[in-house]
């Protein structure tokens, strides 16, 4: 088995890790439990950050906009101060640090790769201030704990999470015949219902109609945030009977009797166990770990495991890894920029993320450049994880990641920025060679390409070396 397997299913091997005698077992044994988050710094709760979100929107919308309505300069200044005070500028940086610390040091890196996958399958795209406050904790508190449960349980949690409900506007969806719908003349917002079908479960392959979307939206009415004058839209999610559409509903030919809040769990059960959903999500898993266009042969064993173990994610993950192992030598997979960065960080022991002491924030001034560095790099290489442009998340296809500028950005990062992230003890040529040897069969050939600079340890020399080796075909792609 070639060493590329460690990059296919994880992030490569760090300098103090050695290839395992049984790589398949090594990988499969990482999936039964949820590894602790290792970040030694602050890990705020979802609820705590939602409160901060509330302070920020309330302060801006209800206080500053009114106070400074005649003076755009004073308004901007006051707004900047509020950003600092509420952590609007800081929390996303901290979340990136938590995430990248985990992928760099986790003892279960294969589990972490699935964490990234599910966070992107149930993506929260860039909207309002979700990336600033809520998407990170959603990944930690909603996605992660469900990864040892069933797919259905994951969908239930995601669908009723504050983050997803806010993201897809379900709080603005009123049953037209509900008490509030009638009183206020409001109707449904189909957004969340459509994405639950299209992106999260059955996909358009199920052939649902607009009427199915409407009926599912009816079932979902009432699942909304609590609202009050001080917290605005950041209250907890509850089921508001007065928003809920009365009467029976029919989705994909199945009738759901008028049953208030219990309707949602029933329809999610049916969607999450629908054969087309199982095939759709299995295909996406294989696409992520095996190749852009996986064949039926590759996908079928995953579907079988799904059915045999009733949607147990642990067993589904094991089946995916088994397939990834089986096809490792004959398939290719291009990795998107963030995974590439995580791999470089782990394989070459780079100085990212910043130490937790230095990430410490006082809420008195803007985060400094060092604190912003990782998030800045992610943005510059085109892959800021919590800012997908659309609810379908970041693409898993090579074709979407290979544009002239997106490639050049990787060349730029490896040749200009990366040298500044090399630890002082790791600047020797020998260190690079040992990392290459640990991770690539053709390390000798790779080494020969940078041999001209073997005596150099300056940033420039390191840039010449890393610029080449980080962008070789076998590194960008396995």
């Amino acid at each position: 088995m070639s060493l590329s397997f460690y990059r296919r299913v994880a992030f490569g091997l760090s300098p103090n890790e050695k290839p395992d005698k049984d790589p398949l077992n090594w990988a499969i044994n990482q999936l039964d439990t949820i590894p602790d988050l290792l970040w030694p710094g602050t890990i705020p709760t979802e609820k705590g950050l939602r409160k901060k979100y509330g302070e920020w929107v309330y302060g801006d919308r209800e206080v500053l906009r009114k106070k400074f309505k005649n003076d755009k300069h004073a308004y901007r200044k006051a707004k900047d101060e509020l950003r600092i005070k509420t952590g609007e500028r800081y929390y996303e940086l901290n979340e990136h640090a938590i995430r990248h610390f985990q992928t760099k040091y986790s003892k279960q890196p294969v589990f972490e790769r699935f964490w990234l996958f599910w966070g992107n399958h149930f993506a929260i795209s860039e909207k309002d201030f979700l990336a600033e406050f809520s998407t990170g904790p959603y990944q930690r508190e909603i996605i992660r704990p469900n990864m040892v449960k069933t797919f259905e349980e994951m969908v239930q949690s995601v669908t009723t999470s504050w983050c997803m409900i806010h993201h897809l506007d379900n709080s603005e969806s009123f049953g037209p015949n509900s008490k509030k719908g009638m009183e206020w003349g409001e109707t449904i917002n189909e957004n969340h219902a459509r994405e639950l079908l299209e992106l999260h479960t059955v996909s358009p392959n199920a052939g649902y109609t607009q009427e199915d979307v409407i009926q599912l939206a009816y079932i979902m009415t009432g699942w909304a945030h609590k609202w009050d004058r001080k917290n605005l839209e950041t209250g907890d999610i509850w089921f508001d009977q007065e928003m809920h559409q009365k009467g029976d509903k029919i989705v994909l030919g199945v009738k759901y009797k008028n049953d208030a809040k219990r309707e949602l769990a029933k329809v999610i059960h049916d969607l999450a166990t629908h054969p087309i959903c199982i095939k759709f999500v299995s295909t996406k898993l294989c696409r992520h770990f095996i190749t852009d266009e996986p064949t039926e042969e590759m996908i079928n064993p995953v579907i079988e495991a799904w059915n045999k173990y009733n949607g147990s994610l642990i067993e589904i993950h094991k089946a995916v890894i088994t397939q990834a192992y089986k096809y490792n030598e004959i398939t290719h997979k291009f990795h998107p920029p963030e995974i590439w960065l995580m791999q470089l960080s782990r394989m070459f022991d780079l100085n990212i993320p910043l130490s937790f002491e230095k990430m410490n924030y006082t809420f008195k001034s803007k985060p400094n450049n060092r604190q912003r560095q990782l998030s800045w790099i992610l943005r510059e290489i085109g892959h800021s994880p919590y800012r997908a442009k659309q609810p379908n998340g970041w693409s898993d296809l090579e074709v979407d990641w290979v544009s002239p500028e997106l490639l050049l950005r990787r060349f730029w990062f490896a040749s200009v920025e990366l040298p500044m992230l090399v630890k002082s003890g790791n600047r020797s040529h020998g260190f690079i060679l040992s990392c290459l040897k640990n991770n690539f069969e053709d390390h000798k050939n790779m080494a020969s390409l940078i041999d001209n600079f073997r005596f150099g340890t300056s940033d420039y020399d390191l840039g010449q070396k890393y610029g080449v080796i980080c962008n070789l075909p076998g590194v960008l792609k396995i």
Binding site: K72, Q390, E398, E405, L407, V468, P473
Partner: protein, 383 residues
């Protein structure tokens, strides 16, 4: 008239051989025509950009947002003083405005709205390609799109081999690119290899690092590329910040700052396209307009009808093209927004038909699913 440059050369020589006659119109279609779209994200306020003159109701509802001095367009409409270049071009029949227009979307969500302004569809997130990408593909114009942004904008997706320009903060050495290029072999590396080809064939001016936060430099480079006969035919710029819920202001408010950015880009394009400006159309695109009434923060909320700002030598004449719905309460959309009486997709479809030498009827079917979009090319553009 399905005539890309390549097709023309093949078809043209046959005509020449058979008749010994080279039709004059084909010379015109050989001349490269450029289409430039500037996305204005956040909801551009058409009534601030192109204010209606002397409307008492508007004055009453927008006490704090009224512009003291506007540039004169005609007896009904003025122009925001920050949009100087449009005023200058107006004198030369090279600027026009379509007013009370929007995509057919009334939901007031930025995200759904921006998705729809790019896909041109009716249901948010349903389509995965942009109307401009589909228009290029239908017109068989491949590899001629240039995005002035890092990711490929949704608007341009749907056609392969687009280029983009949004340089990294530092220079990447050519030698490094060459060295990496030489290592890419084999069928599975073809996409990367061909993209590296695109990079290596870039003109020197596109190889340098620049500050991608500096829109002036980006616009300057875009103009250079568009001017080149063999360069891109389509460019897409992205601006945001039009969502002015507070301190929107008048001549110097927050909305004015954003209009100034548009003005900057168009000024640079105009100055640097030179003669090519005569064969260019620049159009703005936004997700919705803003409420008529100012809010408690002297800003405005998400609305419906807006305006399209257009510049370029392919305009028929200077005009405010509109079917003005009026601003009385009952004339407003849901009693609060300027109505939209022109589906803005009709304007974009017509602009594509002019720039891509394509039948608007054909494009309407290929790009907009045969939606009822009247052909406005006769009214708006030189054809």
């Amino acid at each position: 008239m399905n005539c890309t440059r390549r097709n023309f050369l093949i078809g043209g020589s046959t005509t020449l051989f058979l008749s010994g006659y080279f039709p004059k119109i084909s010379f015109a279609s050989m001349q490269k025509k450029n289409l430039i779209i500037i996305s204005l994200r956040g909801g551009m306020d058409g009534l601030t950009a192109v204010p209606v003159i002397g409307d008492k109701r508007l004055k009453k509802l927008r006490k704090k947002l009224i512009l003291e001095d506007v540039l004169n367009l005609n007896s009904d409409f003025g122009l925001h003083p920050k949009l100087e270049i449009f005023h200058k071009l107006w004198q030369k029949n090279q600027a026009a405005f379509v007013h009370a227009t929007n995509i057919p979307y009334t939901g007031r969500s930025h995200f759904d709205g921006q998705n729809l302004m790019e896909t041109g569809a009716h249901i948010p997130y349903k389509e995965k390609t942009g109307w401009l990408g589909r228009g290029l593909l239908a017109s068989n114009i491949i590899g001629k799109g240039l995005a002035i942004s890092l990711p490929m904008p949704l608007l341009l997706r749907g056609v392969p081999q687009n280029n983009n320009f949004f340089p990294s903060p530092d220079f990447v050495e050519t030698k490094l690119i060459d060295q990496i290029y030489n290592e890419f072999k084999g069928e599975h590396n073809e996409l990367i290899k061909s993209t590296l080809d695109t990079i290596r064939q870039r003109p020197l001016s596109m190889q340098i690092a620049t500050d991608s936060d500096d829109r002036k430099k980006l616009a300057l480079e875009a103009a250079k590329q568009l001017k080149d006969q063999s360069g891109p035919r389509v460019a897409v710029f992205d601006l945001d910040g039009f969502d002015t819920h507070a301190a929107q202001g008048g001549v110097d408010g927050a909305h004015a700052d954003e209009l100034e950015e548009v003005n900057k880009i168009v000024t640079i394009l105009h100055e640097n396209l030179g003669q090519a400006f005569d064969n260019t159309l620049i159009l703005t695109l936004t997700e919705f307009g803003r409420t008529i009434k100012q809010n408690g923060g002297y800003g405005t909320e998400h609305g419906y009808g807006s305006a399209i700002l257009i510049a370029g030598g392919l305009l028929k004449k200077s005009q405010v093209y509109t079917d003005w719905p009026g601003l009385k309460k009952k004339e407003l959309f849901e009693g609060r927004d300027l109505n939209s009486t022109i589906d803005s997709r009709a304007v974009y479809n017509s602009a594509m038909s002019v720039c891509f030498n394509q039948d608007p009827e054909f494009l309407r079917k290929e790009v907009f699913w045969g939606d009822e979009l009247p052909d406005l090319s006769q009214e708006l553009f030189k054809i």
